[in-house]
């Protein structure tokens, strides 16, 4: 009893420890641990088949784990634990709505199962319909919806009861850019309101934009974890600057090598390629230095390392094939 009380006081909304799940010979999830604090958006970034959905299925109590534990706000989560399920909201990767019910009926049904009743249920249903922009179509059967509208409803159902932890499994797959942006914006808004979010994706742009911390998942394991910047330092943290133009490029190369920020300068004939520790800060000095040395610069490009490069660096594979 005492242990329970202590644990509900921790700041972690989600605590995943040593999670394992096997499918026959395959170990789909192999000792995954991470934790999410309240108000934090945490990303699981990994390619197809990395094990993201399997992790989420155990976190949401859909399937039992073969090892390890999941605690949601201090409460143990397993498939039979309805207490822990009260405070999570799941948005499954596959659509999970009834095609022969209207959006409002879908929301009310799941809201009732989540324990909402009466006026509270009606109020939350209307709020969510507003949020996902389906107010006008709330009375239509969802089988008549476009793909994007179905996706939005799929997300809305997960938000209905204001979960402490919202779990989104690749919510933007198969969505047009406009709807995608709307979805990302609403996740940002929820995070601002203090909801903890577990977000899986194989789009690094989404992970970079939304997530406070990111775990890079591959072959069922956490390959690296941290903020975007922390992850990027794993690659050595160097930026690349491409200078294009003409004039005396070898003299310019010589001069730039003397600058403290510059690590390496390469002259490929059409221009100079530099590796620098902090591209944006060093850029002005580099462009003026090249000009003084007699190079006429026509274009400048900074290539910063991204999560894609991190993934490549860690696994030797591209995030997307």
């Amino acid at each position: 009893m005492l242990v329970e009380v202590v644990q509900t006081q921790t700041r972690d909304v989600l605590d995943v420890s040593g999670l394992v799940r096997r499918y026959g010979e395959l170990t789909a999830v192999d000792g995954v641990s991470f934790h999410i604090r309240s108000g934090e958006t945490y990303g699981l970034l990994g390619p197809n088949g990395a094990g993201k959905t399997t992790i989420i299925s155990m976190v949401a109590g859909l399937i039992p784990a073969h090892g390890g534990t999941v605690r949601v706000a201090g409460r143990a989560m397993t498939p039979s634990k309805t207490e822990a399920k009260r405070i999570i909201g799941l948005v499954p990767q596959e659509l999970a709505i009834y095609p022969d019910l209207t959006a409002r009926e879908n929301l009310k049904f799941f809201g009732r199962l989540q324990g909402l009743r009466g006026r509270e249920l009606t109020r939350r249903t209307n709020e969510v319909l507003e949020l996902i922009g389906l107010n006008d179509r709330a009375g239509d059967l969802t089988k008549k919806y476009s793909g994007g509208m179905k996706r939005r409803l799929n997300i809305g159902i997960g938000l209905l009861h204001r979960p402490t932890l919202l779990i989104l499994d690749e919510p933007t797959v198969g969505v047009d850019p406009q709807s995608r942006n709307a979805i990302l914006e609403s996740v940002e808004r929820l995070s601002v309101e203090g909801m903890a979010v577990l977000y899986t994706t194989h789009y690094m742009e989404e992970a970079e934009r939304l997530c406070d911390r990111i775990a890079i998942i591959d072959e069922g394991r956490v390959q690296a974890e941290g903020t975007r910047d922390e992850l990027i330092t794993l690659t050595g943290g160097v930026d690349r600057i491409n200078l294009r133009g003409g004039g005396s490029m070898s003299r310019a190369a010589e001069a730039l090598r003397g600058l403290p920020a510059v690590q390496h300068v390469d002259n490929d004939g059409a221009g100079l390629i530099l590796t620098v520790s902090d591209g944006p800060t060093a850029l002005a000095g580099i462009v003026t230095g090249a000009g003084h040395a007699g190079m006429s610069v026509t274009s400048v490009e900074i290539v910063r390392p991204d999560l894609e490069s991190v993934f490549l660096h860690l696994t030797g594979k591209a995030l997307r094939d």
């Binding site: 949401a60 309805t82 399920k85 596959e94 009834y98 009732r112 199962l113 989540q114």
Partner: protein
């Protein structure tokens, strides 16, 4: 169970919105009842007017029980019977020559033999053209003789060897008091056997029940395919509540559809199934059995598509074996198998009910259906869930 009724209400709403439940559970079976009753035509008449009949009989008028037996035959209310007395030796010949429906040879000293508990057999000679009338007459004679025998046995059980004289008169009077006897014989004739039209209505109702309850538990497979099962599992409801909700949905649909079918069927085709209370007990039992079977199906199949096929096969097999289209009889092991079929038991129960049986009289069929339900649930627990591995 939290969430149970929320889920049942949602399922019922979906089923009502999706018209197929009306089509498969009500319209198709009613249409089939109509078509089949046309095919079987006049055979399906429920009441038959019995023709006047002639009986050739030998009896010693001084023999009280013999006279009582003939008196019972003579005083039948359901048909006119003319009795022609001839000496015992001539009964056989006369019956055939005159084209009578039945010949009755009552042995000499019949009363004394019965009273002293000795074997005494009444011989019957069936007419050349065995008619419905002769059948009825045979069962009447059988009924009277049975009652004599019962009296003898009672007396023997009382420690007496034979009956005292004064009881003989009472027995004879009792036997001759026709009406009570007749209800007895009629009741026996109707027991376990519905009229053709009754069989048709009950059989179709039983057959389509298998489809109707399928809309419940098999909806679970639809949830799996729609992805909503995963979402339900993330909600604070137990897996048991999810399954129970499906079973409740199937059960409610089954009870409603069967009740409507039997009511509409009995109105449209002029059949009566007897006491509503007994019929209700039978409906609840057969729907329980059918619902339990859907759990087994849900375990064995992977997709809703496969489930529909399996459910149709089961419905047709159990329906036909249960006599949905025509009476089916078997011997030995086959007969036992047929007896265990819940739809067959349902039809038998309705036959008993139609024949005036009360709740106590249908415990046999009810027990068969409930045992079937229990076996189904047990089997569903033991079987691995193939669909979950998909």
């Amino acid at each position: 169970m939290p969430g149970l009724w929320t889920m049942v209400a949602k399922d019922l709403r979906q089923r009502i919105r999706d018209k197929s439940v009306f089509i498969f559970s009500l319209i198709v079976p009613l249409a089939l009842m109509g078509v089949l009753s046309l095919v079987f035509g006049g055979l399906g008449e429920d009441t038959v007017d019995l023709q006047p009949a002639t009986v050739v009989a030998s009896a010693d008028d001084a023999d009280q029980l013999g006279a009582a037996l003939l008196g019972a035959v003579d005083s039948l209310e359901i048909m006119d019977v003319t009795i022609k007395r001839v000496p015992a030796a001539d009964v056989r010949h006369e019956t055939q020559a005159s084209g009578a429906d039945l010949g009755i040879i009552i042995p000499e000293g019949f009363s004394n033999a019965v009273l002293s508990g000795q074997a005494a057999s009444v011989q019957l000679v069936e007419g050349d053209n065995a008619s419905l009338e002769s059948g009825v007459l045979i069962s009447v004679v059988q009924g009277v003789v049975d009652q004599f025998a019962a009296g003898t046995v009672t007396a023997a059980a009382g420690g007496l060897s034979g009956l005292p004289r004064q009881d003989l008169a009472a027995l004879a009077r009792h036997a001759a008091a026709g009406p009570s006897l007749l209800t007895l014989t009629e009741g026996q004739a109707a027991a376990e056997q519905l009229s053709l039209r009754g069989t048709l209505v009950a059989g179709q109702a039983g057959l389509f029940l298998m489809f109707t309850v399928g809309f419940g538990v098999l909806g679970l497979l639809a949830e799996r395919e729609q992805g909503t099962l995963a979402r339900l599992r993330s909600m604070p409801v137990t897996g048991a509540a999810v399954i129970t909700a499906k079973a409740c949905t199937g059960f409610i649909l089954g009870v409603v559809a069967t009740t409507v079918l039997l009511t509409a069927g009995s109105q449209l085709f002029g059949v009566s199934f007897g006491s509503p209370l007994v019929v209700a007990a039978l409906i609840l039992s057969v729907v329980t059995a059918a619902t339990s079977l859907t759990f087994v199906v849900a375990r064995l199949v992977r997709t809703a598509e496969q489930a529909n096929v399996a459910q149709s096969i089961l419905a047709v097999v159990l329906g036909i074996a249960g006599g949905a289209f025509f009476p089916v009889q078997g011997t030995g092991f086959a007969a036992t198998l047929l007896d265990l079929n819940p739809i067959g038991a349902f039809n038998r129960g309705l036959g008993i009910s139609a024949g005036g049986g009360n709740v106590g009289d249908v415990t046999g069929p009810v027990a068969v259906m409930l045992a079937f339900a229990a076996a189904g649930l047990l089997l569903a627990r033991i079987l691995p869930d193939r669909g979950a591995q998909a």
